[in-house]
Amino acid sequence: MLKTWCKYGALYLMMVPVICYFLVYGYYPLARGLQISFQDYRLIGNRPYIGFDNYGTVWHDPNFWKSLTNTLVIGGGSLVCGFLAPLIIALSLNEVLKSWFKKTAQMILYVPHLLSWVVVGGMWIYLLSPDTGLVNLLLQRTLDIPPVHYLAESGWARVVMILVATWKDMGYNCILFLAGIVAINPSLYEAARLDGATRWQQVRYVTLPQIQSTMKVVLLLNTLGVLRIFDQVFVLRNNSTAPDVDVLMYYTYQKGILDFHVGVAAAASMLVLIFTLLLTLIVRKLTRFDEV
C-alpha cells in the first residue's frame, strides 16, 4: 500500500482537483437535486420532506405537458431538419471537384455554429422583423408578399425555431458527414463505375449505405440535444408566442429561478433527466448503435 503511494502518489495528486470538482459539481448536485425534489424547499427555516408532492404538482401542471409537447415538436423538428439538411449539403459538397471551393464553403457554413444563441437570435430577430427586417423587405419587393411578424405569430414561431436551429448547426453536422464520405474506399466507386453506375446511382448505392454508421452517430448526438433546448428559446421567445415555444428547460428555469419554487423545479429536472435517459435508450435500440 505504502509502496503504491510512493510510486503513484504524484499521479493521484494530479487527479485530486479533477475528482474534487466532479464530486462537488457533478455528483453532489445530482444527489442534492433528488433530495430537494422531495422537499418543500425554502430559503430560510426548515425544509420538510413532503414525499412525492412536488412530482404531483409537476404532473398535474398543464404547463408542464405543454412544455413537453413544445420540446418534442421543436426538438423533433430540429432533429429531422438538422439531420437531412447537412446530409444533403455534404453529398452536394462531395460532388464538387474544386477543393478550394469545397473548403471555402465548409468554412463559411460552419461559422454560425461558433456563435452564441444571443448573437444568432439577435441577428434573426432583426432579419425577421416586420418593418425593417431583410427577409420581409426582400419578400415584399421581389414577390410582393405583405410583411409577416414571424416571431410573434404562433403559427410561425415553432417553424422559425426549427429553421434557425438548423441554419446554426448544419455546418457542424456537415463536417461529420463529409468525414464519413472521405473514409469510403475509392475502389467501391471504381467498381460501381465499371458496372455503369451514373453519378446519382453512385450516391444512392455506394455513398449512402457506406455512411450509415456516421448517420447513426450524428442522430444519437443530436437526440441528446432535443430536451436541452434552452438558450435558443430564451432569446427568441416573447409573450405572444410563449404557449407555443416554452420548452421543458424554460419551465424549470421559470419555476426554479423566477418563481423560486425550487422543489418543484428540481422535480421537473429529475423528470427531464429520466426522459433523457429513456430517449437515449430508445435511439440506441432503434439504430442498434452498439452493433456499429
Binding site: 499521479l11 470538482y21 457533478g26 431583410l134 466507386y189
Partner: protein, 290 residues
Amino acid sequence: MGIERFERAGWGSRVFDAINLLFLLLLMLTMIIPFLNVISLSLSSGVASMQPDIILLPKDFSFEGYKIIWTSLDIWRPFVNSVTVTVTGTLLHVLLSSLAGYVLVHPYVPGKKLMITFILITMMIPQEAVLIPLYVVNKDLHLINTLSVLVLSGLVSGFSILLMRNFFLSIPYEIAESAKIDGAGEFWVFGAIYMRLATAGLATVTLFEFVRRWNMFTEPLVFINDSMKYTLQLALKSMIVDTSATSSTYMVTTNVKMAGIIIAILPLIAIYPFVQRFFMKGILLGASKE
C-alpha cells in the same frame, strides 16, 4: 476521390454540376447576407439604421453605434468580465484536463478503471438537468453573483480529458519511461515532455473551451443578477431582446445593437481562419469518442 471519377463527364453531368454549384452558392449566401446586413447596420448612422431599407453596405457611414455602445452604454464592463472569465476558465480547464488525461495515459496505475468510470459517468449527466440543484449548491457556497461561479462552471470536463488523453497517447510512452529512469518526476515529465509535444491537442481543447466560455449564456443568466457582474452575452441579451426594459432612459438605435453583436462576434471570427483545422480535428475526435 480524384478527377478520374468523372472522366467521361457528359452533358447531363455538366448540368448536374451547374445546378449543384448554384445550390451551394445560394446556401452560402444565406450565411453571408445576414452577416453583411449586421456589419453594415452597425456602421450606419442611427437614423439610417432605423429606416426600412435593404442595407448590405453601410448607409451614411459612421462609427456612432460603436461609440455609443462603448461609452454611453458601458459595454466595456461586461466585455472585461467576459474576457476575465473566459481566459481564466479556459486556462484552468486546459490545465486540469491535461493533468487528468496524462494520468490516464499510464498503462498501469492502480484504480485506473475506477477513475475512468468515475469520469465517464459525469459525461452522461446532462448539465441542464442539474441546473436547479447547481444553483442551490452555489448558493450554499456563497458563489451566486460572483465571477468565480462562472469560472467554476465547467472547470473540467470528461470530454476534454478524453480528448487530451488521446493526443497524449500519440506520444511514445518510452520517452516518459526513459525520462523517469533518468530521475525525472511525474510533474516534470508532464510539463516538460507531454505538454510540449501535444501542442495540437492543447490548441484544440483551448479553442473549444474558449468558444464555449465566450458564448456561455445559461450559467450567467441563472447565477448572476448583479449588472456589474454581467457578461457580454447577458448584457447583449438585455440590450437586444428586452428592448422595452432598457430603453427607459433613451432609445437604443439599431446600429448600436448591431455594434454589440459585432463586438461579441469579433474575437471568434478573428481567430477562426487561423485555427479552422483544429476545429475540424476536434469535432471528428469528439464524435468518434461518443
